[in-house]
């Protein structure tokens, strides 16, 4: 009941309200308007209640109630109601015809509900023999096919049917033998026949059932016999299966406990690998390019963004210096390795003091420092793991090389023996010349060589090597046992070897290495070295790293030794061949221990530099120059500043600007250094004045200058001193000269071929320098003197080939200089500094309330609570008004009914009084 009522009344209020709003707004009657006075005016506030229509709104409210609660009251306690749902019945603006049409359309629409809009014949249900297809497809009884075979017409045979149904007539009657049977008989016959058939059928059915049962039981008996054989085999099978299962388990467990490869990316294809390799190289190249820039020009993006910017920030880039993060590392003895000032600041316990100026220090402290360094290596080279892979690869390559080398070995042997002979001969010659101290050294070396040269068999070498390794191991262990003191000492020794120009090595390692390497072909040496390095791989033992860094020092020494006192072309070639093979191992070794190897090489450079400084007029020999090449092999020469390459570049420029170049020895070495400087700066294209000055000097020496017509020269070359030493004194235009400088030029005396080669190569290097500096604006100022000097060389005496090349270079330079333009240096356009903008402080919603201070949830809750309260108040008020309305209606009803009653009473009284009056009249009449 209630449901119905609800349904009936649902949305009544809404409906009423809607009807209201649809109505056209009436014009306000100004007398009805009541203006609410505003006490506080708030700007931008929308006031809803500035004016009101009290009468109107009250009337509205009453009307609303009348339509909602009023009707509800009318229907109160009434169980039934009529609802007129005829379409268009209530609306008055529809004519009767329209109403009809609308109703028909609704009816049609009802048929076409949306679901079946495309299924046109959906309402027809397809049947088969009176059954729907769904019913047919149920297949209820499996045995029903028996019945299906029943004949039509209830199983009556044709005779009977034809007789009974269609018979009759005269002709057929006469044919009947037993006379006409009565209809009753016929029916009885029919019944009997059908009964009989039914019984037959029943019987048949029972028989088949019996037979089936019988068959089943028989089969059951037979079953064990039939399956006996099979069952046995089955058991076997099962057992085997079980075993198999165990195998499987076992295998599974084995697999489970087997060491698993860590999940990694899929094996990369070679192209992918190459791609990655290429990317890595590109990245490295990019980094190198970046290092090439001076610090000031570093891209600003690298600058770390400031975390916090105060509102008082004046934008003047003032920042408190962040404390630099220092990696705390410990050396072997567990003492922290930190720079001095930090030690002071933080008062680190146990810390060792470090001395920067090693000159005044005693040697023990030096040893300490080295110790520290090596300690820090382990920390610094944390990437050793990542390098392992590389190393592995390298090893692989090396092993390949070894194979190749072993093949090549036999070929090279011939050469080697020749070289050895040469060397020993030259050595014996040298010995006579040499001073007493170096004499001993030489002799010892030779004796070793002789010993070695007897056994060239590789197996023996291997044996030796392993011996050496073992002994090295032993030594190392022993030294470790004796404690850190001896260890330090040993390292000191190593350093001393580097420092002291006396080359009798105290520790046996250096000797062994020399023993290992001398008297072999370069490729054999390379093989031996690679084996040696591999056997001391840092992954095998923790102190192998240190051993390898010592090996580095010894190798430096070895290279130094092979380049010392070379007076023969063959010797030089041999030395360079050895260096060629040995150099890659330097690279491997510095990868293993960056810091200490750098230390060794820097010490070596320093020693060489000191030697040079003692007599700066003399150009250092090959045993110094070769290390410049080594440095450029190992370290990036293009860096703006590098701990190794910068000092060696300084060294080279000092040689070029301080030494005197006055004979073939110095000039050839100067050219060697010049080439190295070119190599150092070819990538960075840095400007090296002393190289250009040297070139200028070379041209000066080869130019035909006279006292009368002097040219400007730059130090270290001096006017009218050593001039014309490279000048050709005779016509050599028919001479055949090699293009390149050769080892011979490092030892030969000044001859025409040398002069020609010098000029040729210096002109080409000039061109290269020129091309390197082509972006420099002051190019003309740099190269004009060179061109002037080149113009004064008697080119007609040089070979035609060379003359044409030189003129080509000159032509090139001239053309470039002519086309060179000069733009005034202008101030770099500075981008205007953007106004400083702060991030706006956005708060979620400005409510003006205190809610915003609360948390999100709490404020939401509070808001809802406020809303609830407000609604509640409103609802209560409405209810109160409803009640008032109801009361008013009730009182009105009551008054009305009272009035009716009073009327009625009055009427009764009236009637009664009339009656009484009439009665009285009658009485009086009587």
């Amino acid at each position: 009941m209630a449901k119905v009522k609800n349904k009936r009344n649902a949305g009544l209020a809404d409906k009423v309200h809607r009807k209201k709003s649809e109505g056209v707004k009436k014009k306000l009657n100004p007398f009805e308007v009541h203006i609410n006075k505003e006490k506080l005016k708030v700007l931008g506030k929308k006031s809803k209640h500035d004016r009101g229509l009290p009468g109107v709104s009250r009337a509205k409210a009453i009307q609303k109630r009348k339509e909602t609660i009023g009707t509800e009251m009318k229907l109160l306690n009434k169980t039934n109601t009529f609802i007129d749902r005829r379409i268009g019945e209530k609306s008055n603006n529809l004519s009767a015809e329209d109403r009809m049409i609308a109703r028909f359309a609704a009816e049609r629409a009802k048929q076409h509900n949306k679901k079946s809009i495309y299924n046109l014949a959906d309402d027809e249900i397809l049947t088969h023999r009176g059954q729907t297809l769904e019913q047919i497809e149920k297949f209820d009884d499996p045995r029903s096919d028996d019945e299906d075979e029943d004949k039509p017409f209830g199983g009556l045979d044709d005779d009977f049917v034809s007789e009974g149904h269609f018979g009759g007539g005269i002709l057929s009657k006469t044919e009947s033998k037993d006379g006409a049977k009565s209809h009753k008989d016929l029916i009885e016959q029919l019944i009997a026949e059908s009964k009989k058939r039914k019984a037959e059928k029943q019987k048949e059915k029972e028989q088949t059932l019996d037979l089936t049962e019988k068959l089943d039981s028989e089969w059951k008996d037979l079953q064990p016999v039939v399956f006996k054989k099979q069952s046995e085999s089955l058991i076997d099978k099962l057992l085997a299966d079980a075993e198999k299962g165990q195998d499987y388990d076992k295998m599974m467990r084995e697999l489970k406990f087997d060491r698993r490869g860590t999940p990694s990316d899929a094996l990369k294809s070679t192209e992918k690998q190459q791609e990655e390799e290429r990317k890595k190289l590109e990245e490295m190249e990019k980094q190198r390019q970046q290092r090439m820039m001076p610090e000031e020009e570093m891209p600003k993006t690298a600058k770390p963004t400031v975390k916090h910017r105060s509102a008082d920030d004046l934008d003047d880039n003032f920042a408190f210096d962040d404390e630099k993060e220092i990696m705390l590392a410990y050396d072997k003895d567990g003492k922290p390795l930190l720079p001095d000032h930090i030690l002071k600041d933080y008062n680190v316990p146990n810390a060792k003091k470090k001395f920067d100026d090693g000159v005044s220090d005693t040697s023990s402290e030096e040893g300490d420092e080295i110790n520290d360094e090596s300690g820090s290596d382990n920390e610094v080279n944390g990437e050793a793991d990542s390098e392992d892979n590389d190393e592995d690869e390298q090893k692989f390559e090396e092993s390949k090389e070894i194979d190749e080398n072993s093949n090549n070995g036999s070929d090279l042997k011939v050469f080697e023996s020749d070289g050895d002979d040469d060397k020993s001969n030259s050595n014996s010659e040298e010995n006579e010349k040499l001073e007493s101290s170096s004499e001993n050294k030489r002799k010892r070396k030779i004796s070793k060589e002789n010993v070695k040269s007897d056994k060239n068999d590789e197996d023996e070498i291997d044996d030796d090597e392993s011996d050496a390794d073992e002994s090295g191991d032993d030594e190392n262990e022993a030294s470790e046992d004796t404690g850190s003191n001896s260890d330090e000492k040993e390292q000191m020794d190593v350093v001393e070897e580097e420092l002291g120009s006396v080359f009798d090595v105290k520790s046996a390692e250096g000797d062994k290495l020399r023993e290992l390497l001398t008297g072999k072909t370069p490729s054999q040496q390379s093989t031996a070295l690679s084996k040696l390095i591999k056997s001391y791989d840092p992954s095998l033992s923790p102190n192998n790293k240190e051993i390898l860094s010592r090996l580095f020092a010894h190798l430096l020494q070895y290279v130094h030794d092979i380049f010392t006192d070379l007076n023969d072309e063959g010797d030089i070639i041999k030395a360079f061949l050895i260096f060629d093979k040995v150099a890659p191992y330097f690279y491997d070794l510095i990868h293993i221990n960056k810091v200490s190897t750098k230390k060794f090489i820097v010490e070596l450079l320093k020693e060489k530099h000191d030697q040079f400084k003692r007599n700066p007029k003399k150009v250092p020999d090959l045993n110094t120059l070769i290390f410049f090449k080594l440095v450029s092999l190992l370290y990036p020469t293009s860096d703006f500043r590098h701990p190794v390459t910068t000092p060696s570049l300084i060294f080279m420029t000092e040689i070029l600007s301080l030494s005197r170049f006055k004979d073939a020895y110095s000039v050839s070495r100067g050219l060697f250094i010049l080439t190295m400087i070119l190599e150092y700066t070819v990538l960075s294209k840095r400007f090296v004045p002393s190289a250009l000055n040297f070139l200028r000097g070379i041209f000066y020496l080869s130019a035909n200058t006279s006292v009368l017509n002097p040219v400007q020269v730059v130090p270290p070359f001096r006017l009218h001193k050593d001039s014309k030493i490279l000048n050709l004194e005779q016509d050599c235009s028919k001479m055949e000269v090699d293009d390149k400088m050769s080892a011979k030029d490092l030892v030969c005396e000044m001859d025409d071929a040398f002069k020609i080669k010098c000029l040729h190569n210096s002109v080409f290097m000039l061109r290269e320098f020129f091309d390197n500096y082509i972006e420099i604006d002051a190019l003309k100022a740099l190269f004009e003197p060179h061109m002037q000097l080149l113009g004064r060389i008697d080119l007609e005496w040089y070979p035609k080939k060379i003359v044409s090349k030189v003129t080509k270079v000159l032509q090139h330079m001239k053309e470039t200089l002519e086309t060179k333009t000069y733009a005034l240096i202008t101030r770099e356009k500075v981008r205007p500094k953007a106004l400083r903008l702060y991030e706006p402080d956005i708060q979620e919603v400005f409510t003006g309330s205190k809610l915003s201070k609360l948390s999100r949830d709490a404020s939401e809750r509070k808001r809802l609570q406020g809303k609830y309260k407000k609604e509640m108040k409103g609802a209560i008020r409405e209810i109160r008004r409803d009640k008032a309305y109801i009361a008013s209606v009730k009182i009105r009803q009551k008054i009305q009914s009272d009035n009716v009653r009073k009327e009625k009473v009055k009427q009764i009284y009236k009637d009664a009084s009339i009656q009484q009056g009439e009665l009285n009249k009658l009485k009086r009449g009587k």
Binding site: F576, Y587, P689, L692, N693, P715, M741, A778, I825
Partner: protein, 515 residues
């Protein structure tokens, strides 16, 4: 062999010492002295031990007063053995001194130096304990004269002994009497170069200790006490008079001026050094040196640099105006200057000369241009100091800023308007040019130079005061570079396959070393 000789000489010196001691201990061993003096005639290079023995003996004798001879007038010479002995001792003393003087000239250098020291020591002893009883201050000028006579030899360059003598010229009395003695020795007509050399050197050393000028004198009362005096043991005050010193110095220079100082460049240089470094403040009329200085300016090379310093002195303190001093300075900036010893002096002087803000722009611009051109061929250290000058020029002369940031429309020229060959600085049209050289130096290989050059280029809106030139650094670039600390040690990323670097190999393109 050398060791053996050393051993021998050691033995001799030991013997000699014992002999000397014996002699001093008793008169019985008087012959020892004669023996020792005899040794001077020996054919040897090294007289050190003998000299030492002589020194010991006579210092002791002088101290004892054994050599003191009292000559009473109108009294016949004393013939007592004591007097005779004294006379003999005196004779020995004289002979020993003459021998020692000869030793200064011959033998090994150490022995020569020792002879000089011995002579000076004996002179000191004699000054303290005069041979004749005297009152007041006594300085053995005769001995000093003898020494000077030897030092001013006409054939042998005496630079080593004279340098050694410097340790004695630190004494005020030696300085004063030395100058006085030198005036007496100086008068010579056309002396040899060697003599002039020695003379100038000696004068230089004598003036090494600064002679206070009048202004200083008032303040310098207390300083006088600190002045060292060689012969002062008797507590007698040595009357030092700067005025007379100045007079003597002037006279010495006056004599020197009469010689042909300017013929030999070495002498010339030395004379200029002496004049510029020591004498200028002392001379009464420094203007007289103007001619010499101007001649030196024309000579070129280091001599003109020194001359320049003298002229600067004259210009600054003596109101001398020199017509084209700036052109001369301009001409000195040649690549050859790097080879000279005085390049730092030149750079320093140039900075002073160009510090005037009243110079015409074109002139300063020419200097800036020329100096930066020069920096292109200079060694890193020189390049840095040259760049510093350029930076100072830019700071002092704001008009020069157009050379690093021209405000004109960026015209593209086919040539540098600056003419390097032009001798007149103002005519070289440098103002129209830009400092492209400095920009080239921004690509210098040495990091310091690069940063210095960038600083110069970045100074267009700097208003810093011009920096004084950095004092010459003794520690070398190489060492300094080695001391730098690096965070990482970068390594080539491609493994070399032999002695060829994969990218940028040049050695192998120009050298064929393995075949």
């Amino acid at each position: 062999m050398a060791a053996l000789q050393q051993n021998f000489s050691k033995m001799i010196s030991a013997q000699l010492r014992s002999k000397a001691n014996d002699f001093l201990n008793s008169r019985k061993n008087a012959n020892n002295l004669a023996d020792i003096i005899q040794l001077f005639e020996a054919e040897t290079e090294n007289f050190t031990s003998v000299l030492l023995a002589i020194e010991v003996i006579f210092t002791e004798l002088l101290k004892r007063g054994d050599l003191l001879q009292v000559v009473v007038p109108l009294k016949p010479a004393d013939q007592s053995p004591e007097a005779l002995y004294k006379k003999w001792l005196n004779e020995c003393y004289e002979t020993a001194l003459t021998h020692a003087l000869q030793c200064v000239k011959k033998g090994k250098i150490t022995s020569r130096l020792q002879a000089l020291v011995t002579l000076c020591k004996l002179m000191q002893a004699e000054g303290n304990y005069p041979l004749e009883p005297l009152n007041g201050y006594y300085f053995p000028s005769v001995r000093l004269k003898n020494i000077f006579n030897v030092l001013l030899d006409s054939e042998i360059p005496m630079s080593a002994p004279i340098t050694r003598f410097q340790e004695f010229t630190e004494y005020r009395d030696v300085q004063q009497f030395g100058l006085k003695v030198l005036t007496t020795l100086a008068y010579r007509k056309s002396p040899s170069h060697v003599f002039i050399q020695n003379y100038l050197e000696l004068l230089d050393k004598l003036l090494a200790l600064e002679i206070p000028t009048e202004v200083k004198k008032a303040k310098g009362k207390e300083d006088d006490k600190e002045d060292k005096v060689l012969c002062s043991s008797n507590g007698k005050q040595f009357p030092f008079s700067p005025v007379s010193c100045k007079r003597y110095a002037n006279r010495c220079w006056g004599f020197a001026c009469q010689w042909s100082l300017c013929e030999d460049p070495k002498t010339h240089r030395r004379a200029l050094m002496l004049l510029v470094e020591r004498l200028m403040p002392l001379l009464n009329k420094p203007q007289l040196a103007t001619d010499m200085l101007c001649d030196s300016l024309d000579a070129g090379g280091p001599i003109s640099m020194l001359g320049l310093q003298g002229v600067l002195e004259l210009v600054r303190h003596h109101n001398i105006s020199y017509p084209d001093i700036y052109d001369r300075l301009y001409a000195m900036f040649e690549p050859e200057m790097f080879a000279t010893r005085y390049k730092k002096r030149l750079i320093h002087l140039a900075d002073i000369f160009l510090s005037s803000t009243h110079l015409p722009e074109s002139l300063v611009a020419a200097f800036a241009k020329r100096i930066s051109r020069l920096a292109l061929v200079a060694s890193p250290d020189d390049a840095r100091s040259l760049l510093q000058i350029v930076a100072n020029l830019l700071l002092r002369h704001p008009a020069l800023k157009r050379m690093i940031c021209s405000e004109d429309s960026p015209a593209i020229m086919s040539n540098d308007p600056y003419v390097m060959e032009e001798t007149g600085a103002s005519r070289s049209r440098a103002l129209g040019s830009s400092l492209w050289e400095v920009r080239a130096l921004c690509r210098h290989w040495a990091p310091e130079v690069t940063s210095a050059a960038t600083r110069v280029l970045a100074s267009h809106n700097a208003r810093d005061p011009p920096l004084s030139l950095a004092p010459p650094e003794d520690n070398e670039q190489f060492e300094a570079e080695l001391k730098k600390r690096f965070k990482t040690i970068e390594i080539n990323f491609i493994r070399p396959d032999g002695m060829c670097i994969p990218s940028g190999e040049r050695l192998m393109t120009y050298w064929d070393l393995t075949a």
